[in-house]
């Protein structure tokens, strides 16, 4: 078992900089998910940890040892690829045993490990098959099995579920989570799917444009995103953003005007000043609340999507911002009608002009300006 730490990792392909100054610590036994849009550098970062890419600068440590110069095989890692990367001309058994053959493991030990991994992954009856005779889910399990038999300190997953259909993806996701509990190994997992990230991770690393935007537990990212990018990336449908402006700042707090209404917020560090352009973030699931301490936001409905357990109301607010409201499944609303969303003041996120979150101590009821 081992921890992984990255210090000042940078990577460029020619003049193109892919990663800038990445610092990260992955503790022993943690399940860390790198998440971000395509092209954000998450896969490159994983391949750097694996040793399949070299770094332009920085240091990688696995289990306290510097591994920059080490080939992948010596890093005690095992990687599962998106394409499974099974050797097409070898049986399932040989696929799993292939790597061990060269690690000077004796035959009985190889056999024991392969059979044990096959047992865990329910592959025992498929050991003599060739990869092309397997379904997508089975292939993925073989790929995971090949990683398990190496008994690595760190498991690396590169979007392992992307090629599976939706139902299988949920199943395999649960199996990977179970595997992590059983093996207790450090796992680093790359995905662009925020649901996979939220469900699997003990720690999520959000990457964008080759930089770490935020590191934290899934619910921390959900409740306290540090910037607009994380706020928009985590959560589905994405968080609504509404343009606003600081009207005044005094000892009671900052008065913020947005979408034809106002709210008074007390921020922790006094970073807001009168006249600042800001962005307010409100999650769709928080926009259909009832009761006191809610701010009514009015607008016109563009579209209604009914999913059964909920309905998504797409509306244009008075101020011109488009928002999504997650409302009850049987809501009576149709396009063209006026609609009022109710936002609890506690659900407001405030971001300054540079997109950084402004910490709010308390939020106070608002009054309509219209």
């Amino acid at each position: 078992m081992a921890d992984v730490s990255l210090h000042g990792i940078a990577k460029s392909f020619g003049p193109v900089e892919i990663l800038h100054d990445i610092d990260l610590r992955v503790n022993d036994g943690e399940f860390v998910v790198f998440v971000g849009p395509s092209g954000c550098g998450k896969s490159t970062l994983l391949r750097i940890i694996a040793g399949l890419e070299t770094v332009s600068a920085g240091e990688i440590r696995i289990g306290g040892r510097r591994v920059n110069e080490m080939p992948p095989a010596d890093r005690k890692i095992a990687m599962v690829f998106q394409s499974y990367a099974l050797y097409p001309h070898m049986s399932v058994y040989k696929n799993m045993a292939f790597g061990l053959k060269f690690a000077k493991t004796n035959k009985a030990e190889v056999d024991r490990r392969v059979r044990q991994a096959a047992e865990i992954l329910k592959l025992s009856h498929l050991l003599d098959r060739k990869p092309r005779e397997l379904s997508g889910g089975q292939r993925q399990r073989v790929a995971i099995g090949r990683a398990i038999v190496r008994e690595p300190s760190v498991f690396l997953f590169d979007e392992p579920l992307s090629n599976l259909d939706a139902a299988l993806r949920v199943n395999t996701r649960l199996e990977i989570a179970k595997l992590h509990r059983e093996l207790g190994a450090t796992m680093i997992y790359v995905t662009h799917d925020q649901i996979e990230a939220m469900t699997l991770a003990s720690k999520i690393v959000v990457l964008n444009h080759g930089r770490i935007e935020q590191v934290g537990a899934p619910l921390d990212l959900y409740h306290a995103p540090q910037n607009l990018f994380v706020a928009g990336f985590i959560g589905s449908p994405r968080m609504n953003f509404i343009k606003g402006q600081v009207r005044s700042v005094d000892e009671r707090g900052a008065l913020i005007a947005f979408a034809g209404t106002e709210a008074l917020v007390q921020e922790a560090h006094g970073r807001l000043a009168k006249g600042d352009e800001i962005t307010l973030g409100i999650r769709p699931e928080h926009m259909a609340s009832e009761g006191p301490q809610t701010i009514p936001l009015e607008g016109e409905i563009d579209a209604v999507e009914r999913l059964g357990e909920a309905s998504f109301v797409y509306m244009k607010l008075t101020g011109g911002d488009d928002v999504i409201v997650r409302s009850s499944g049987d809501i009576d609303a149709s396009p063209g009608e006026r609609f009022a969303a109710h936002v609890p003041v506690g659900a407001l996120h405030v971001f300054d002009a540079s997109g950084q979150a402004v910490q709010i101590q308390s939020r106070v009821a608002a009054r309509s300006t219209s």
Binding site: A50, L52, I77, F81, Q82, Y84, H89, G99, F102, R146
Partner: protein
């Protein structure tokens, strides 16, 4: 019964015509090799019958020439050249596609030129070089030339195939701790077998059939290949057609065997990637 579309019929007619064109001369050689000289000229298209059948051509080939030796020479040159082309070609193709190193592009370009410029243009310099190296009248000279001749195309074809092997596969092997040589030997080579068969067929035939280089580099007694050996039956005034056709018939046999050996993979090679 499934309906047959006119388009398919047209395709098949075209294929049958082409087949006739391709196989016609070979059939002609085969049937005439077993006929008397008179019958060859009187009825070149007729099958041998009880009156016209004779094996005199074969008798004369074995009696008057060292055919076994020519045969062995041809076989040695072809098989050794083929082996070297495939081995060196596959390794070079792997290196050129997999590794980024100084001079990679230049080397690839250089090899592309090798495909475009016929090696025969260099015959004079090749002959001079072989004289300097004391290799004239040796099979080594022929093998060297054929390897040089076959390599560029082999590298191109094999390189294309290697590029189609998913990169993840090599990365997975590297994570498994497999050495680069092992990756080449245990993963790349088995996966490009169809391509190797294709290259083998395409390079083997011209080598076996070549007359030019045996003629200028190894015409000496004991080093002649089949194609050169046949020439002694073709005289300025008299040509022993029985012997010529008999030796050509014999010469077809080994190439046919090799072709059958590779053809199982060849069909797969030419259609590889069609179905996934």
């Amino acid at each position: 019964m499934p309906t047959i579309r006119p388009g398919r019929i047209a395709v098949h007619i075209a294929l049958i015509l082409y087949l006739a064109l391709a196989i016609g001369p070979i059939v002609l050689i085969l049937i005439n090799a077993f006929k008397t000289r008179r019958a060859i000229f009187a009825d070149p298209l007729g099958l041998p019958n009880s009156q016209t059948f004779t094996a005199i051509g074969f008798d004369r080939v074995f009696a008057n020439s060292d055919f076994g030796l020519y045969f062995l020479n041809s076989l040695t040159v072809t098989v050794v050249s083929l082996g070297l082309i495939i081995l060196i070609g596959a390794m070079a193709a792997w290196a050129l596609t997999e590794y980024r190193f100084r001079g990679n592009t230049i080397l690839s370009l250089y090899l592309a030129i090798g495909i475009m410029v016929p090696i025969r243009l260099g015959s004079v310099s090749i002959l001079r070089m072989m004289v300097d190296l004391n290799l004239v009248n040796t099979l080594t000279a022929l093998i060297l030339v054929y390897v040089a001749q076959g390599l560029p195309l082999a590298i191109l074809i094999l390189g294309e195939f290697i590029q189609q092997i998913p990169k993840d596969l090599r990365d997975a092997a590297r994570c498994d701790g497999v050495s680069e040589y092992r990756i080449f030997g245990s993963i790349i080579l088995p996966l490009i077998r169809p391509a190797i068969a294709t290259v083998a067929v395409f390079t083997m035939v011209p080598i076996w059939n070549d007359l030019w280089f045996p003629l200028i580099l190894a015409p000496g007694a004991g080093k002649q290949t089949v194609t050169l050996g046949v020439q002694q039956f073709i005289g300025q005034y008299v040509t022993d057609w029985n012997a010529v056709l008999a030796s050509l018939t014999l010469a077809i046999a080994p190439i046919l065997v090799l072709y059958l050996l590779f053809s199982r993979y060849l069909v797969r090679g030419l259609t590889a990637g069609a179905v996934k």
